[in-house]
Subunit: 137 residues, 2 copies
DNA sequence: GTACCACCTGAGAACCATTCTCACTACAGG
DNA sequence: CCTGTAGTGAGAATGGTTCTCAGGTGGTAC
């Protein structure tokens, strides 16, 4: 990852390290506000947003637009491994879920089939499952 | 649908009819701005947003949070039929795609499997495919 | 038909996550 | 060191969305 940033002449400064560390610690995508709470005053909001934007451009961070006017960020698949999300309609938490490789293969087959029928060239897919988490059911 | 609104003592006024008609005409989810352009001054923005909110509460309209700070709305599955979305990374359009029932069954099987492994009670799923549409490839 | 009342509407203000601005600082390379 | 480019922070600006409030509408009861 540091290499990727260096290639693009993007400095991996201490502020950015703090942001990446907070994202690495999270078990699901996190909003800027959540990250700010977690990080504290060490990284002011404007810098936090800028860091997220820079890291997004570099392909290190990926945004998720999952709730009204709220963007949640997480590390890209190539860092954390490809996964999907479980969204609790009761408490609103979004958790990562890793799926067995054999299932992921099936998902990919389906995606390719669907896309092909529509003359669409698939690049990525996003399967999100809404429901009630173990805590809320 | 009118029945559903009546049950909840929500009036199906002419303004709301216009909004529903515009959504029914669309081939994919539409933002408030897009709807406003399509509809014209007949429905002022504040009323448009309120209508969308009311219809959403009633389960007639479903929001999609797909782009930075932009919500797109569409009629609920029980009206249009269950479907998924193809999102073009080049031109940004979001198109509906109906998938063969046999594929949908497979998607559901996968969703149930994934959810079960995480102690999650699935209620709905959302499979979105990102890539380049026929026009942009 | 008229009165009542809950619901609905419209214009604009308010809200709030995000982005921009600008003066300043930090760091790498020479 | 010197210089130039990249990064930072506080606050202002932006823009989609929601709220407020002063009316309007229409279904229902009598
Ligand atoms: Mn995730
Ligand atoms: Mn759709
Ligand atoms: Zn929950
Ligand atoms: Zn396209």
């Amino acid at each position: 990852m540091e290499q990727r940033l260096r290639e693009r002449e993007i400095r991996y400064t201490s502020g950015r390290r703090v942001v990446v560390a907070a994202l690495a610690r999270a078990e699901g995508p996190r909003s800027a506000a959540e990250l700010s709470t977690e990080i504290g005053a060490a990284v002011p909001l404007s810098s936090l947003y800028r860091s997220l934007a820079v890291l997004e451009d570099a392909g290190v961070v990926v945004p998720h637009f999952g709730a009204r006017g709220l963007t949640r960020y997480e590390l890209a698949d190539w860092i954390t491994g490809h996964h999907h999300h479980l969204i609790c309609v009761a408490c609103g938490t979004v958790d990562d879920v890793e799926i067995l490789p054999e299932y992921e293969i099936k998902v990919n087959e389906l995606v390719d089939l669907i896309a092909q029928l529509a003359g669409f060239e698939p690049r990525a897919h996003d399967l999100e499952i809404e429901g009630r988490c173990a805590k809320c059911s």
